[in-house]
Every structure is written in C-alpha cells, then in structure tokens.
Chain length 342, copies 2
C-alpha cells in the first residue's frame, strides 16, 4: 500500500519538504540565474531533484563521481555536465567518454596524469582545477597555464578553470569569509588569465553571496537545496527542507530512543538535532534523546514519529534509497536517490 | 572484465582480507563455539560472510533490522535469527512473521507496546530486552519479570533475556571493563531469574573475553570479523581484515589526495587511518594525506593505490554494494553487501 501520510512510513525514512525545497531553489535562482549557477548533484544524488533545479532555469550541473554524470545523462537532465573531480580509472573514463557523445561532459584535471587519462579515454573537454587554498585537489595557481598548454597539446579543449574555496565555507564571520573568498579568487583570476577559456567556476552554498566582485562566472552549490544544521549556523536564507523521520521505539523515565541511527545520518559534522530534544548519542540504528527543558512536559510514546535533522546533508542522502516528498505530513511523491555510489 | 588484482579495481572499493577474516572467525569460535556465539550481522551486512561464520559452527545469528532478518532467511543462512532491536512498524513485523514460518525468528521487546505489536503480527518468540546500563533500549531490570508475564498473556513464548553492555565496550582498561561487565551482568542475571526461559544473551566484541564468570550463555559480537581502528585500540586478538581501497588522484608538494571520502567511510568514530600517512581530513569523496616521518621518502604518484582503514566498520559496510575478497593483492571472489537498509 502506498503511504499517504508520514505516520504510515516505515522508518528511518528520508523526507523532503517540497515547499521549503522550492523556496530554496527559488531564492538561489533569483541570485544566480540560469548558467550562473551550476548546481552540484553530490549534495542530493537525485535526478528528480536535479530536474526540479532545471525547471528553475539551470541547465548546467556539477557532479562529483562518474556515476553521477552517467546517471544524469541517462535521466536526460542537464545539457552540460561537469565532473568537478579528478579520475584516472580507465573504465570509468571510457564510460564518461561514451556519455559525452550524447551530452557535453567536462572533467576537472590538475596534473599531466589526469590529462593523459582523460585524453586516452577520448574525453575532449576539461577545466583546469586550481588550488585556491583548500588542501585537496587542484594545481598550484602559477602552474595552471602550463598545464592548460599540456592539455591543448593532447588535442583537448580547455574550457577554463575551477577552484573550490572549501576551506572558507564554514568561517563564522561573513566579513572574514568574504575577505578569504576575495583572496582565493584573486589566485583563480590569475590562473584563468594564464589558462584561457570562457569558464571560471567556483563557490558553494557557504559563499553563494560573496562573489559579486570576484572573477567567477558560475557558482557550484549543492547544499542550499536541502540544507543541514552545519550550514544553518551561517544564517543563510535557505530553510531546512530535509529530515530523517524516525519512530520512537523505546522510552524510559529519563530518555527515549528513536530508530534513526548513524547508518542513516552523515556523522562527520557531529550529531543530528531534533526539535524539542537534546541528542545524547547516536548508535548504528538508534539515537537517544532527552526532552529539552521547554518540552519536558510533552508526552512521547512508543510509535510516535520524530523528525531528525542531519548535521551533514551530502552523506545522509547517499545512505538512503528513496526520499518522500511531503507537504506537512502529507506524502506528495517519492524520488529515487538514484545517483548513489561511484 | 573481472578484475584479478586490486590494482585493476575502480575505487573506492571495499577489500576483505580472506586470511585475516578466517583468522578472526577461528579465534572467536575457539573461545565461543557453536551457539555460544550469536554473530551479529549488523557489523557486515553480508549473507556470504554470515555463511562463513556458519561454517565455523555458529547457526544462530543476531540482526539489527528487519531487512537483515529477511535477507538472512532468503539466503538460507542460520536456523535461529534474533532481531536484537525493537520494532513497531506493522508491515515489517508482518514480514518477519512470514519469515518465521521458515526459520525461527525471535524479536527483542522492552515494553507493552512492542509486545502487542509483535503479537498482533503473529510473531511467537521474544526476548525481554533488559537495560543493563547503556542509555538506549531495554526495560529496567526490576520490571523485566512483569513484562515477561504480560508477553505470556499474549500467548508469546519468552525465550529469555538480552542486555547489551554497550556503554562498556570502549573502556580502555581491561580490568575496569571487566568490573563493569560483572556489574551489568548481575542486573541481567536477576532479570533472567524473574523472566525465565533458557537464553541469556549479551556482550560484544569489546567484552568477548570478559564473560567467563557472568550469567550469559550466548555472546552477541559482530565487529570481531572485520575490525576497525576503534576496536583495535583495545588490543584484542583480532586483526584488521577490512580496508577501503583508494586511488591517489592528486599530489602536491605537501600533501596527496586519495578518492576515499566520508561517503565510503563510517565517520562517527573519527577519521580513518592509512599506514605510512597522517590523515589531514576527509571530504565527501576525498581524504587528504601527508606522509608520516618514517615514509617521507616514499614516492607516491597519481594512480597509486592505498588502503584506508575505517574507524568504524559497521556504517562503512553499509555504504558499499560489494566487498572484494583478497589474498594480498589477488582478488579471490566478491561478495554482495546484501543486507543494507532497514
């Protein structure tokens, strides 16, 4: 039987509040319309959610894994897919090359090895991934130009540069974040001059409104659609639209247990939160809660449903097979989380 | 093409060292043979691994989710399956009742509500789940007897008690752990007397050798098979047999990046470890490493493979579809992680 309300759902179950999601997509598309936003699918891993982003005017997408690119192409969502990640696996690159016969596929490269791997597979479009301060992928800015030259010698089209300022996303002070972004983007701007091409891609949800005066012409952001408690700390104009629904399975005098555990929650940013409760700890299949002072008089019984808010949305989505679209407690639809894996 | 060596694997890929796994299963079965061990499937979520545990003489199994029970029954592994968890969802309980026509299924209960839910679905065997100190599920010890009476009034067979001393698993000092176990098991012993039945089930990998003088007649342990860096701290006689293989996708002067990120690693116990390197941080699809002092002269290139050791094995397994069985770098077989989900 198809469930009509959240009270009928077996748990843990992923809920997406459709109105909140639409609000977030609208807010972002008003700030960065069309190709100025390249939504990141890694934050939701769901082609149906990506298709909604497309309806808000964004036809270019960012992906983090080959499977995300392949899944987006298979679903026919987007006309310009960027793999903002380095890949050297031959089979996967061959699969991407095959996909690139149907839809434009661009891959990030930051070394001769990644360029040779892409060229050998028959991929034709790359961005030079530039390190702008995050200790992760990306060529040093001053070497970006010669890497682009090397790529062009392999008969590869260098569409421009990308540089993710991930080390700045969680700086509390907006002013400090803005200063950091300006500094990182000066590095990217110089690299862009050396590299050539039309694309200068960077950014994320935490810096979505700090690029007015930077060099970039497209923003990569993903978490803004569903949000999490980590990003919520920054006071961004995006609402929490994703929850993991749990059932209270045990109560005692001093605490209660809900059947949402760390196998259904991204835990790298810490414990989730539950409105009206304090989270004591998470285990594999459980979260132990105590009522907060304000809700100490609330009676909670076995069988009651509670909404758990993840601390990190991206890995949370990757743990679920399905998302239920809800308006209040009414279930409107369900979406497959079909881009999971690598 | 079927990969023959780990160097051919697309990554991240889960590796299980077959000799180390067999060693762990042998060590545990020598200590707790046959039904004295009720291996926990939640730690590996793999019926083929459970089948190997069965070959070491264990025919009774512990599960944490209905899907684990249903999957074990479908695979025909085990003849006595315990759901060591509370469930009130009607559809799932109905599914378990159906399974119980083929294989003995026992569910944990800790309240009138969970007993009524089990009875309504037609389940006939329960254990009284007793709280022995972990702030999670389980009835207070002094109320266990009357809960058993209530269950028997519902025409349910009460097979005994279980009580998980999870709050003690990670106490560094073995002596202190042993004292704690003795105290918790005194609570369980009193409850067992009040409840009746033949089963007294408790324990885990961290307390596997601390029950010689306690009341229990079966040990629930799961992590011992594959292990993780968290349990390794206790100095147990079990070897690390599970790794997440990654490919180096980017190098710079000061660090390198492997394509194993927090979407392929259980992160609630912190960062993973990599032999010869220091882990700086994990992102969704990456881990950034710096060589440790001892291996500073080791040359690492893009395309090289590294083994990442998870901090927590249970959620790590739940993130992967497949495990490759290896002996050194040779791939012997692959197993489906077929018990994922709820």
């Amino acid at each position: 039987m198809q469930p009509h309300t959240t009270s009928q759902l077996a748990t843990p179950a992923l809920l997406v509040d459709l109105d909140a999601l639409n609000g977030n997509l609208r807010t972002m598309s008003l700030r960065h319309n069309g190709a100025k936003l390249r939504p990141h699918t890694k934050a939701h891993k769901c082609t149906q959610l990506a298709n909604l982003q497309l309806q808000y005017g964004h036809k270019t997408f960012t992906c983090a894994t080959p499977r995300e690119i392949i899944g987006m192409a298979a679903a026919g969502v987007g006309e310009d897919l960027l793999l903002a990640n380095e890949v050297v696996d031959r089979d996967r690159l061959n699969s991407l090359a095959k996909v690139s016969e149907k839809v434009r596929v661009t891959v990030a490269v930051d070394s001769n090895a990644t360029i040779i791997a892409a060229a050998s597979a028959g991929l034709r479009d790359v961005l030079i991934d530039v390190n702008v301060g995050l200790k992760r992928c990306g060529v040093a800015p001053q070497l970006a130009g010669q890497l682009a030259d090397f790529a062009r010698k392999q008969k590869i089209t260098v569409r421009g540069v990308m540089g993710y300022e991930g080390h700045l996303m969680m700086i509390d002070s907006r002013d400090k974040r803005k200063l950091g972004v300006a500094e990182s983007m000066r590095l990217l701007a110089q690299a862009a001059t050396d590299v050539g091409g039309e694309i200068i891609s960077a950014g994320g949800t935490g810096t979505f409104d700090l690029h007015d005066e930077t060099c970039i012409n497209e923003l990569q952001a993903g978490s803004y659609a569903l949000m999490d408690t980590h990003y919520a700390k920054l006071g961004l104009p995006f609402a929490q639209s994703c929850f993991v629904l749990g059932t209270v399975i045990s109560t005692s005098q001093d605490w209660l247990v809900v059947d949402v555990g760390l196998k259904s929650l991204g835990m790298d940013h810490g414990n989730p939160t539950v409105d009206g409760f304090e989270v004591l700890f998470c285990s594999d299949e459980h979260t132990t809660l105590v009522p907060s002072k304000e809700s100490a008089s609330t009676k909670v019984s076995v069988g009651d449903k509670l909404r758990v808010v993840p601390a990190h949305i991206d890995p949370t989505m990757a743990m679920h097979e399905l998302a239920y679209l809800v308006r209040g407690d009414e279930i409107i639809d369900s979406w497959s989380i079909d881009l999971r894996g690598w």
